[in-house]
Amino acid sequence: MKVLEMKHLTRKFGDFIAVDNVTLAIDEGEIFGFLGTNGAGKSTTINMIAGLLHHTKGEIRILGKDVTKNKKFAKSHIGMVPQDIAIYEDLTAYENIQFFAGLYGLRGQKLKEQVEEALKFVGLSDKAKSFPKTFSGGMKRRLNIACAIAHRPKLIIMDEPTVGIDPQSRNYILSSVRKLNEMGCTIIYTSHYMEEVEEICSRIAIIDHGKIIAEGTKEQLKAIITNTKDIWIGINSTDTLDLSQLKLINGVKEVKVEEDVIKINSSADVNNLNTIIQYFIAAGIEIRTVEEQAPNLDTVFLTLTGRNLRD
């Protein structure tokens, strides 16, 4: 079943188009990653899904129902982790979760159980009675997540949930995202950290200037740019190296020297590794290592957008 469908979704702020004709569908059980540089339109898209912003054009469906006509239904099945921490500093961790879960209609014993479960889930059970002003940044981020999941939503939207926290809290959050997913939640995850998205997401969309410019599994995305490959050759001394000769080899596009590693970018469909190695042997240069680099999402992102994810 499709948990979320967006069709031709567009949002303008005045004349500025922040989200431009986005069409996407997310299946139940996915962890869907949104990648994009600052201002790409990730939060705007997410905020339209969660009902924080109206859409200028297009359509959003949650569990098959149009959100504009079924606001309450849509909202009650979504859990939103806002990009900025949104908790009351003068309510305890427990009271924060209790209040927000209460807005979703939970009462009495059930409310109590699910609040405790959410606290346990983010590892804050022993801090239930503490006020967030005594929390570290990572603990506040975890409470920020707990407030969004206690009502057991089908779709959890996380807008950069790991911004500015220590590696320990980050690992904790990543593993809880996986756990939530195993429990049946569908998750939308935006991040500036490529490795996070690569690690946990089953499918990824790259968004740039409000448009989806690529979408698919990690492998599918990498396949987009497999028309080139990187060959890295480690040598002992670069003294006798003649770069111009290397560049003449069939398929080689670019050669860079970084300390004692020669980085060769070449067409993927030309089998020229033998010729390259023979050149080094003939020139009397001793080869220490040879590596063929698999394309990673960073190169995918760079190739597609012309920019690094984090500048």
Binding site: A50, A86, L91, E95, F100, G105
Partner: protein
């Protein structure tokens, strides 16, 4: 249910906030104590000083006339001196010129009283006495205020409103310093609710929790009502504590009709909360709304007689005073306590609620136009 949830959350946070406790509880109590004891010499509470000349014209039949005569004689000890007007005298004019505290016309079925605008306490005393008489003889009494600076015409307080006095004689009470400041500090603090109200929804935006409220499956109306409800309840509870504290610890006189007094106070709190909320939607920054609210409260306090008694001397001062919500609240409550007169209370309540509606509409319309809160 969500509304109650929101209101309870609001109150919980308010009562954990040291500023709320200082502003709405400690501040008024301390001020009452300081002003009520330091300025007590400025207030005269003894009844002997009351020396009020009253002019009357008697065109009633014999039985009423006789009864009135007995009534006036009975009062001569209390300091109210009745003088019968001659045929040619203009009683209203005499009151205007401050020669008499009041002018009374007695006919068979009605007593008409014209009182000087200047000293409401004298007027209240006479009104209170008359009411006893009127009650006994089942007559209709009319009270009109004669403004000393509008010499040519009689200016009744609110048309020539007829009302039947229902209560007995409570006359010769005047507020002492503590009684006075218990009232004015309480009404002033009720107005301070506007301060926290200006953060009621803006505060949620500032700390980001507005996002969570909007993504939850509740309507903006529920959020709006719940938050206002919470804000009003916090303020009402603080006011109740302050009133009871001043009543039982400071022995301030809150009169026999605490329910009516509270009704006036609650409408004033609603006014304060609506004003604060409306202001927060009419200004760009929280600093701006706070500054405006502070200035308004201080002016209202000054002209409403919060810190010292303002003489109702007529002229510009009089007109400015009428604009202070604290003036009409203080006046209403004083009338309830000292004259058993409920009319100003009803006027004040309607005025408070009417203005509240305007500010609430401003807030609702602005909120409706926004994405989010």
């Amino acid at each position: 249910m969500n509304i109650i949830n929101l209101a309870l959350k609001e109150m919980k946070r308010d009562f954990r906030d040291l500023r709320t406790l200082i502003f709405l509880l400690a501040f008024p109590i301390v001020l009452m104590l300081i002003l009520g004891t330091a300025l007590s010499s400025d207030f005269n509470t003894t009844t002997e000083v009351v020396d009020i000349p009253v002019l009357y014209k008697d065109s009633a039949n014999q039985s009423v006339s006789q009864a009135f005569q007995t009534f006036t004689e009975g009062l001569s000890d209390s300091g109210v001196h009745f003088k019968k007007a001659t045929e040619t005298m203009d009683g209203k004019k005499a009151v205007k010129e401050n020669k008499y505290g009041a002018y009374i016309e007695v006919t068979n079925s009605q007593i008409k009283m014209y009182e000087s605008n200047k000293n409401s306490i004298e007027g209240s005393v006479i009104e209170g006495m008359l009411s006893a008489f009127v009650d006994k003889y089942n007559m209709i009494s009319t009270v009109a205020k004669v403004s000393p600076n509008a010499l040519s015409k009689v200016t009744p307080n609110s048309g020539e409103a007829n009302f039947i006095k229902e209560t007995g004689l409570h006359s010769l009470k005047k507020p002492g310093a503590m009684d006075y400041y218990a009232i004015t500090m309480t009404t002033m603090i009720a107005l301070f609710g506007a301060m926290s109200a200006s953060y009621l929804i803006r505060g949620e935006r500032i700390i980001g929790t507005a996002t969570r409220l909007v993504v939850a499956p509740i309507s903006k109306a529920e959020i709006f009502i719940g938050k206002i409800f919470g804000g009003v309840l916090t303020s009402v509870l603080c006011t109740l504590i302050v009133v009871l504290f001043s009543k039982y610890v400071f022995k301030a006189n809150w009169g026999e009709h605490l329910g009516i007094v509270f009704f006036v106070l609650i409408t004033e709190i609603v006014l304060a909360i609506s004003f604060g909320l409306g202001m927060s939607y009419m200004t760009k920054t929280s600093g701006a709304s706070q500054a405006i609210i502070m200035v308004v409260i201080q002016l209202a306090a000054f002209f409403g007689g919060a810190y010292f008694q303002v003489e109702d001397g007529g002229g510009l001062m009089n007109n400015v005073m009428q604009l202070s919500p604290l003036h009409w609240a203080n006046h209403a409550i004083t009338q309830v306590i000292y004259s058993d007169n409920m009319t100003p209370a009803i006027h004040a309540a309607f005025l408070n609620l009417g203005i509240s509606v305007v500010f609430l509409l401003i807030a609702i319309i602005s909120m409706g136009r926004r994405e989010g809160l």
